[in-house]
Symmetry: D2
Subunit: 147 residues, 4 copies
Amino acid sequence: MKPVDPEFRARVTESFKRQSIMGLLGAELTRIDAGLVEVTLPYRADLCQQHGFFHAGVTSTIADSAGGYAAYSLFPAGAAVLTVEFKINLLAPAKGEKLVAIGAVINPGKTLTISDVEVHAVSGAETRLCAKMQQTLIRRDGAEIED
Amino acid sequence: MKPVDPEFRARVTESFKRQSIMGLLGAELTRIDAGLVEVTLPYRADLCQQHGFFHAGVTSTIADSAGGYAAYSLFPAGAAVLTVEFKINLLAPAKGEKLVAIGAVINPGKTLTISDVEVHAVSGAETRLCAKMQQTLIRRDGAEIED
Amino acid sequence: MKPVDPEFRARVTESFKRQSIMGLLGAELTRIDAGLVEVTLPYRADLCQQHGFFHAGVTSTIADSAGGYAAYSLFPAGAAVLTVEFKINLLAPAKGEKLVAIGAVINPGKTLTISDVEVHAVSGAETRLCAKMQQTLIRRDGAEIED
Amino acid sequence: MKPVDPEFRARVTESFKRQSIMGLLGAELTRIDAGLVEVTLPYRADLCQQHGFFHAGVTSTIADSAGGYAAYSLFPAGAAVLTVEFKINLLAPAKGEKLVAIGAVINPGKTLTISDVEVHAVSGAETRLCAKMQQTLIRRDGAEIED
């Protein structure tokens, strides 16, 4: 996919840093391409649900950011991204050393952009698809984000 | 709705305490009825997305627990609950002093239970519906949670 | 909810008539209020899945129109409605004399409107909730519908 | 993917024929592999929404059958498939000579199976992705389908 803003990597990186929840969880941006963004989250004992796996909401949080920034990477400078909605299937227990969420735009648009996100649970050499999200994002001018 | 386990409140409370992410976020169980559970999350600056609102993933996290425990409250003792999938619409900016997620079972079942969750953003006397989730939960025996 | 166009009933009725699939299925508009539209579909043996119940896609078709026209009823004259996406849970076998889909706007907006739709299976005096949809609609000017 | 029932093609074909709605719409099974099923629907003027495109519910109907039979192809003989829920994004106007829905299992399971479905609008040599579905199916014994 073709980015309209050649500085999209700096723009994504800067916005991600302002997502304070990413710092709290310990999530990191590990790949930024045009229309494809990866977020990695190392395991910590305080990110879990009642059985000691990553909580579905934590999985959703990094998936939402990966898909949202995949869309944002294709936006012009000055635009903002907001999540309209997403749907996520939890396919397997989210357990392992880390989660890796890969968000990819499947339908870019002037107003709405659709992303697909896969979340993989990684333990040593083993990787398992543990969640899949389908997500709708909206592009707004910076001044419209309250609407 | 009729609970099969009269001790459902203690069971929900105990399981919620084991969700370590709730402690990290500062979320609290504020209501437990049969088929209806409420989770409240006070605002903190480290729970946000890039514009200073609660991150959609944080909203989803408390919504997922509210809907999941609403289902769990109707299960027999010894059963476990896992989220199969959910879909959430972010209707308005999630900003204010706190978020309140109210999960309600709309279709209980032997295997699958469906919950609806509303998340309200509260600021002083003002309350605004900021997210709505439709969620599918599965009941498992305690021994099956790895599957 | 307040309609901006006092002629919304005529506008919904006229647009529904142009949905040729409604004629093929035998679906009818049975209620039009501002932000709330009902579509009724009598049982026919050629609307079914492999077990003789209404096909999930048929249930979705009338639910999509009910929710879409609930949104459309709040639009100004000259605007068009398109479905962005929806999610539907099939809660119980869709069997009986007729299906009744009730679409209700839960969040109207300038660009996006969110509707909830319930589908009930009716047999004599018995009514059972058999499906629930959460749906996102977009408002377009008449000239933009190709985009 | 490995089918457990070597007669899965005959089983899918036979069940599809019992879906009476497929006959009404004019939809045909055009590919059956283990975990992958394609359904094709030629354009007809009575399958449309108000602007003359295929109705979103019609698109959903063939997508639901494609994804459901992709799951069913992996089931043992004697099992039944029911749709638990699905979410579909309508990405582009569904217009053209025909729609082709390709359903592919992404996570087979003993109880629940998850399929992804892409729907393409085809006009001459041109093909455009017009819808994407993420779907949850449940496997039941033949005797349980009322539950």
